[in-house]
């Protein structure tokens, strides 16, 4: 008890610090995980528009046009394209998660391969959806 305590080793710090602090290296896999949650929350917000759109079916034709006008406005279109992408991303990455749940594709190369497949899938289907929406 008389002796002074030896100097303490610095306690380990959590590496959970993303750039710009730069402690934790950027990885596609962690970004996919964050985007999965973010896209899910965004789609949850989107259910407000979905429900408004449905409810407008019970109102006057002008009520329905108000929803259409919002969707067709510049802000509405940006939101709609964003939600379309969020939907296809969450759908694709959700299937990626379901595959993992069966115990498959859990090697590092397959995790990355699946990740890039989902990114390409989400972008291609978002583009295809909007090309189709304005073509038919």
């Amino acid at each position: 008890m008389a002796e002074a305590a030896p100097p303490r080793r610095p306690r380990p710090l959590s590496p959970f610090l993303f750039p710009p602090t730069g402690t934790y290296r950027w990885q596609m896999t962690s970004s996919m995980s964050i985007l999965h949650r973010a896209s899910g929350v965004a789609l949850g917000v989107g259910t407000l528009l979905f429900t408004w759109w449905l409810l407008a079916l019970l109102g006057e034709p002008s009520d329905f046009e108000a929803v259409q006008d919002f969707i067709g406005s510049p802000i509405g279109l940006i939101l709609m394209v964003g939600w379309t992408w969020a939907l296809f991303f969450h759908l694709g990455n959700g299937i990626r998660h379901l595959v993992w749940d069966t115990g498959h594709a859990l090697t590092l190369p397959n995790v990355y391969r699946g990740g890039w497949t989902v990114i390409i899938f989400s972008i291609v289907l978002t583009a295809a959806t909007w090309v189709a929406a304005f073509s038919f």
């Binding site: 899910g40 409810l55 034709p61 939907l87």
Partner: protein
């Protein structure tokens, strides 16, 4: 082998029940998977329909939703979507909100809003499909 099992923090009965410390077992996790599988065809159906009716007026969409196939699919989409959303939002809140009172309030508000939206959406489909 014996020494390994002796170190377990779960007793034999707890292990057999498989419910864990939250007493929920796999229920939440499994419900999220089941609803996600259901949402694969349902959301694809919805996107194709939304593209088809892009810019359509109220009467056109109303007539489409009156059809039994559309009303059934839309009802299933609503139930699966809001169920899946409630499960997902719960996890997000539980991950980030740690003060018990705030957490409980957030969970109740979020789930209450989700149930309200689900009921409104479902009511609309029934009204369109069954009503005049």
């Amino acid at each position: 082998m014996a020494s390994q099992s002796d170190k377990r923090l779960v007793g034999p009965l707890g292990r057999a029940r498989g419910l864990g410390s939250a007493k929920q077992g796999l229920n939440h996790w499994w419900a999220q998977r089941v609803s996600s599988v259901a949402l694969v065809p349902l959301t694809l159906w919805f996107v194709v329909s939304a593209v088809h009716f892009h810019g359509a007026d109220q009467a056109t969409v109303h007539d489409w939703l009156r059809r039994p196939a559309s009303a059934v699919m839309m009802s299933l989409l609503i139930v699966a979507t809001f169920y899946h959303l409630a499960l997902g939002v719960q996890v997000v809140i539980e991950d980030y909100v740690h003060r018990e009172g705030v957490k409980l309030t957030s969970l109740l508000l979020a789930k209450g809003l989700i149930v309200l939206l689900a009921a409104a959406a479902l009511f609309t489909v029934l009204r369109v499909a069954v009503g005049g």
